[in-house]
């Protein structure tokens, strides 16, 4: 967390066209996501970038902007997916209502985990989040009458949706992509608002210097709990999207390996940058796709690339790129 400048803050400070562009970050990001299915090798890959991008973006609020290294973000990703599936399959809730219900319930879960974990610091915080997320995993494994146990949750297929009288075939990958993209856009708009708000400044101050933030008059523990819940809420929306997309919820998404993958994605793309999570999710998934074509041991290579990134590009792909552009602009 000792990387140089805070990207957004510097951009605001320096006048010029580039900072104006950055202020339109939500629109720009949505525009990039809109062409994704036509650029990437497969539409399935594009949908996954969308879903993991949202999950990682939520995590970035906690890790990148507040500096809290959680190893339990999979709990909220999974909770969003399971709650959506259970609401639709078991209780017959329509899909558009199931999503907000699932996000709300996941936020409550984040509050519960946050109340315990945000009292600790550093490595203890990481370990407590990891342990509590594993607890959620085992609950999902054991409560098989609700969750389907290790077979995963099934039986809640959403095949067509009614959009203000317009009947859409949700099994068509392009329709599905753009409906899910609307959720991603909503999440980006919300995250951008948080980052621009007074509270967005508080979490950056806490990351920079917790002691000073407290001396300035901030209730640090309460702020950490709030950001933990917001982060969980956004990541859980990614889970809802996954459930709608796959029509099953695999138990694996609650596993700590998923939490580890989320951490890797944010570091690959660039923590503390707005679009970095999507770049990170895309690069990770593309690497996985490409390398697993010629070897089943793709994780060795992805792991090696990850290590190189941490050593030589600590700001990730997107963070480094933004810095390069900014330096270019600063020269006369």
């Amino acid at each position: 967390m000792t990387g140089p400048s805070s990207g957004e803050a510097v951009a605001k400070a320096s006048p010029g066209g580039f900072s104006w562009l950055l202020e339109q970050r939500v629109l720009l990001s949505v525009a990039v996501l809109a062409v994704l299915p036509w650029v990437l090798p497969s539409q399935a890959l594009a949908v996954n970038v969308l879903i993991y991008g949202v999950v990682v973006m939520g995590y970035n609020l906690l890790f990148g902007y507040t500096g809290l290294l959680s190893f339990g973000q999979a709990a909220f990703f999974g909770a969003g997916a399971y709650f959506t599936g259970i609401a639709i399959g078991r209780y017959g809730v329509p899909w558009f209502a199931a999503v907000p219900v699932a996000v709300l319930l996941s936020t409550c879960l984040a509050a519960a985990i946050g109340i315990v974990s945000t009292r600790t610091r550093g490595i203890y915080f990481s370990m407590v989040t990891l342990a509590l997320a594993q607890l959620v995993y085992y609950v999902a494994l054991q409560a098989s009458s609700f969750t389907g146990g290790e077979n995963g949750l099934r039986g809640f297929t959403v095949d067509r949706i009614n959009l203000f009288g317009l009947q859409l075939n949700f099994l068509d990958p392009i329709n599905k992509y753009y409906v899910l993209m609307a959720f991603a856009a909503l999440a980006m708009w919300f995250q951008s608002r948080i980052l621009n708000s007074p509270f967005g400044a508080v979490i950056e101050a806490i990351r920079e210097n917790e002691q000073r933030a407290r001396a300035c008059g901030y209730d640090v523990e309460r702020s950490k709990l709030i950001v933990f819940m917001l982060s969980g809420a956004i990541s859980s929306l990614g889970g809802c999207m996954l459930a709608l997309h796959l029509s099953i919820v695999p138990l694996d998404i609650l596993h700590y390996q998923t939490s580890g993958m989320i951490v890797m994605m944010v570091l690959l793309g660039g923590a503390r940058s707005f679009f970095g999570p999507f770049v990170g999710a895309a690069s990770f998934l593309i690497l996985e796709d490409v390398i697993s074509l010629w070897t089943p041991h793709w994780q060795i290579f992805v792991g090696a690339i990850f290590v190189l990134f941490v050593l030589f590009l600590p700001k990730g792909i997107w963070g480094t790129l933004l810095d390069a552009l900014r330096v270019g602009k600063a020269r006369p």
Partner: protein, 251 residues
């Protein structure tokens, strides 16, 4: 301006078996600059940490503007009107200078607002700029705090403490690590600050303290050794023995 602002009653602090402060009773009037001096280990920093809420006293009471401060969490102290700077520079290094001060200004009003755009809260921007102007840093407002010189960082630290418009400003060795030129500028700044508000100053540099303060409190081994005008302190034999004599010409 002359009412009692802060009363410290029998304050003591123990760390395990070690007694850092014992039975300190002293009160501070509004609108005065008072210095707290003493040799290393005298308990000055512990005293400051208690006054700013970072440490809870083991015994005794704090009264500020007639109400008790005991048991209040540290972050509430600023809301009551007590603000501090630190001996070791304590700023937000990776944020721009202006944001360092602006974020401190917003603590009193809109901490948990996740909805409004903070760029549009122009009053906070203006207050931050005014605080930067008062410490002579307005020209540096867009630079990252970590790129400022040591002296400028010390001044920034004071601006952060100042922007909450505290009734009581606690400054812990504001000239620590400064050269003579920077010290001179800081002294001028302290004089300006003391015109308008109550300032408590912990300092090592004797000449500076005696020239600047209206009143000096001397701590030694966690106890109150002397309390009076600079001239009385200068001629107090006890003080000369423990502090002044051994460091003639110090600072």
């Amino acid at each position: 301006m002359n009412g009692e602002l802060l009363r410290v009653e029998g304050i003591g602090k123990r760390f395990g078996g070690f007694v850092a402060l014992e039975d300190i009773t002293v009160s501070f009037a509004a609108g005065q600059l008072t210095s707290i001096i003493g040799p290393n280990g005298a308990g000055k920093s512990t005293f400051f940490n208690i006054l700013s809420g970072a440490l809870t006293p083991s015994s005794g009471k704090l009264h500020f503007r007639g109400s008790e401060l005991n048991g209040l969490p540290q972050h509430r102290f600023v809301h009551r009107g007590i603000s501090r700077s630190y001996q070791i520079t304590n700023i937000f290094p990776d944020l721009p200078v202006h944001e360092n001060v602006r974020v401190a200004a917003q603590a009193l009003t809109v901490s948990y607002d996740i909805w409004r755009n903070r760029a549009r809260l122009t009053e906070l921007h203006a207050r931050a700029d005014a605080a930067l102007d008062s410490v002579g840093l307005l020209a540096k407002r867009n630079e990252l705090a970590k790129f400022l010189s040591h002296g400028q960082q010390r001044a920034l630290e004071i601006a952060i403490a100042l922007v909450s418009e505290p009734e009581l400003l606690l400054l812990d060795e504001p000239t620590a690590g400064m050269g003579p030129e920077e010290t001179k500028e800081m002294v001028a700044l302290l004089e300006r600050l003391a015109e308008k508000r109550t300032v408590l100053l912990v300092e090592h540099k004797m000449k500076m303290v005696l020239g600047l303060s209206k009143r000096v409190v001397v701590l030694h081994h966690g106890r109150l050794l002397a309390d009076g005008a600079p001239d009385e302190i200068r001629s107090n034999p006890e003080v000369r023995r423990v502090y002044l004599g051994q460091s003639e010409g110090y600072g």
